[in-house]
């Protein structure tokens, strides 16, 4: 594909309807001229559906703008970009290193450490926006002993950023290494206008910035969909046979082996892996099961469409099977025909073209793709691939079940109900923050607030864990009870969308009511409407609660705990309560 030129970008940015897109307001604090980064940032943001705007601080006015309010940073700022270049910050350390005594080096380091800390806390006092701070560049031709000093400054910067929330280190040395120093620096404009970085460098830096912005805005991709022949291995398994395909630790199979390792690394960071290939299905699985150098195993594959249909249909099917949008998919194929067709008919899908005859580059091409980047990898992320795989298995089972009840029974679901403890509190808080659909009151709580509810005698935090024959879904339900006299107020009741429609809510509610019955004679349920929780509007009335009030605040319901409580559904293999009832 032809690469867009700088002039075309400027024109496109003017002509397209960008203003209507959601904004990303960038504030740039800098001690160099970096204005030419703006078209790249705006263009790359536009490509993922945002209208990025840049406000540039005064040249070399970083400290003042960070510590005094109302200059560049506002409460609306989404992203603060910091470019503090060593040449401007400390000419001595950057260019006069050989002329310095050890004492001078230490005092310069201390001054810079101090400045970093003051600028960082100054920014944080003004805004909670994401901070992206660019590293110091290592000298290309260093003076003796200079490199370790610059490295230690970068280490100081890394640590300072790690100690501040939502602040990230952008490693300019990576951008520099990727394109090479000659392409990275524009020495003419460094001298003419204090603008050190070339157009290419600013493009590479913008890619790094946008990776972070994309992740911040939740626009990362979730699933890598792969072709098989000439992608996962060299050759065509249906024609060449299992023994003749190229795959292994030595050339030429090593290109595919390394590519698979990179795919596996994505899997281990929580990216789902799917297959979409034109083959006989049995041929492909034979490679997965029998080829000694296959790094990818069947258990890594969340879903597969291996048939002779067109890939448009198959990609749509994969998205449906995995219960994700097409805009979560990335499609990688060596066939220009297939990638071209997907680009044309499914523009929401990101496409990675693997150029035929250049398999040795496949690993690099995949590693360079920016859409899978995550700001952090949680334990939950690491098991997500397996969870989605389990979900696909459940769908398969459902399709072959006689009826819903039969399906539920065959899942062999085990529900555990427990009282919050210090291990479960972070995930419980996360669920209150993230759950939108099955959430009766949508009250968002921090770890500390959940801990307080759990520790005080006048409230209880219960949670539900679900396992079935396909896997462990972890903590999927939360209920917060507040006790007032003989009433138990159900402050929060929510369920993860991963387990909706399996009767978990009924069983969980019954046990929460039993817990409430220990000390109360009535339970009060509440429904607070949001844009997303329509589906639980009638939850309490369906469970036999009586309507007692309906206000602007919400609908209130009451259940008498002295009579018989509703029985939980019978299709669970077991319901294990570890709560004193």
């Amino acid at each position: 594909m032809k690469r867009i030129t700088y002039a075309e970008i400027e024109e496109k940015l003017r002509s397209e309807a960008i203003a209507a897109l959601p904004p990303i307001r960038c504030a740039v604090l800098r001690n160099i001229v970096v204005e030419p980064i703006e078209p790249w940032l705006r263009y790359m943001a536009y490509e993922i559906g945002f209208n990025a705007t840049c406000v540039f601080g005064e040249y070399d006015n970083v400290f003042q703008e960070a510590v005094s309010t109302g200059q560049i940073l506002t409460p609306d700022t989404d992203c603060v970009l910091v470019f503090l270049r060593l040449e401007t910050l400390s000419w001595d350390l950057a260019r006069n290193f050989s002329g310095l005594t050890g004492e001078l080096i230490s005092s310069e380091k201390a001054r810079i450490e101090n400045l970093i800390s003051n600028v960082l806390s100054g920014i944080r006092r003004q805004t909670s926006a994401m901070i992206l701070w660019h590293s110091f560049e290592l000298p290309i031709y260093p003076a003796p002993e200079q490199t370790p000093v610059i490295e230690s400054l970068n280490q100081i910067l890394r640590q300072a950023l790690a100690g501040a929330e939502n602040a990230y280190y952008i490693d300019l040395n990576l951008a520099l290494a990727r394109i090479g120093a000659e392409a990275f620096y524009d020495l003419r404009y460094w001298h003419i206008g204090k603008a050190p970085y070339s157009r290419e460098a600013l493009r590479e830096i913008s890619v790094e910035i946008l990776k972070h912005v994309r992740a911040l805005k939740g626009k990362q991709r979730k699933c890598l969909v792969l072709d098989c022949d000439n992608t996962l291995w060299g050759g065509i398994v249906g024609e060449d046979g299992l023994a003749a395909i190229k795959l292994g630790k030595t050339y030429p199979g090593s290109a595919y082996y390394e590519f698979q390792q990179e795919i596996l690394s994505l899997y281990n960071r929580g990216i789902m892996i799917a297959l979409c290939s034109k083959n006989n299905e049995a041929d492909v699985w034979e490679v997965f099961e029998r080829h000694p150098d296959m790094l990818l195993r069947k258990e890594h594959i969340a879903a597969a469409q291996i048939n002779w249909d067109n890939k448009i249909t198959n990609l749509k099917q994969l998205a449906a099977d995995l219960n994700i949008g097409l805009d979560s998919l990335v499609f990688a194929d060596d066939s220009e025909f297939e990638t071209g067709q997907v680009r044309q008919y499914l523009p929401e899908v990101d496409v990675i073209e693997l150029p035929p005859g250049r398999a040795v580059e496949y690993r690099e091409i995949l590693a360079r793709y920016p859409g899978f980047f995550n700001l952090t990898v949680t334990e939950e992320d690491k098991t997500r691939g397996a969870m989605y795989k389990a979900e696909a298995n459940r769908k398969e089972l459902q399709a072959t079940s006689l009826n819903l009840e039969d399906y539920y029974k065959s899942l062999e679901m085990v529900l555990e109900i427990k009282i919050a403890d210090s291990f479960s509190i972070p995930r419980i808080a996360q669920l209150t923050q993230k759950t939108n659909q099955f959430n009766l009151t949508t009250r968002r709580y921090s770890d500390a607030e959940i801990r307080r509810f759990a520790e005080t005698d006048t409230s209880d935090v219960l949670y539900a864990v679900l396992k079935d024959r396909f896997g462990d879904s972890g903590i999927v339900g939360v209920c917060i009870l507040k006790y007032e006299a003989n009433q138990a107020i159900i402050d929060s009741f929510l369920l993860s969308c991963r387990v909706l429609g399996r009767g978990v809510e009924e069983a969980f509610l019954t046990h929460c009511l039993k817990r409430a019955k220990r000390r109360c004679t009535a339970a009060i349920g509440e429904y607070r409407r949001t844009a997303k929780n329509e589906q639980v509007k009638d939850f309490y009335s369906r469970r036999g609660f009586q309507t007692i009030d309906s206000t602007n605040e919400g609908d209130f319901y009451s259940a008498n705990l002295e009579g018989r409580l509703p029985e939980p559904p019978r299709f669970f293999k077991s319901i294990e309560s570890q709560v004193d009832l």
Binding site: Y6, A7, E10, R14, P36, R188, I192, G193, R199
Partner: protein
């Protein structure tokens, strides 16, 4: 070449191509400041696959200077024949 230069000037400055003449300069085009000049140079270098020297860049004071700088760079350009 002249047409392409006018076109790029118009794209970078955000001003209609009719407003651009050979004697156009930062004095006659309000948007043409030093930062726009930089973007213009980068865009021209990309379009014509040339690299201006620092002296040439600071010596480009109007459109005809740009045209002259480009034609002076033409000899090295033969291998990058433009369509």
């Amino acid at each position: 070449m002249k047409e392409r230069v006018f076109q790029i000037l118009s794209q970078i400055m955000g001003t209609p191509v009719q407003n651009i003449r050979e004697d156009s300069s930062p004095d006659t085009i309000a948007e043409w400041d030093s930062l726009k000049h930089m973007r213009l140079v980068l865009a021209l270098e990309e379009e014509f696959s040339v690299r201006f020297s620092d002296e040439t860049i600071v010596g480009m004071l109007n459109v005809s200077d740009i045209l002259k700088a480009l034609s002076d760079s033409q000899p090295q350009l033969k291998s990058f024949a433009q369509p």
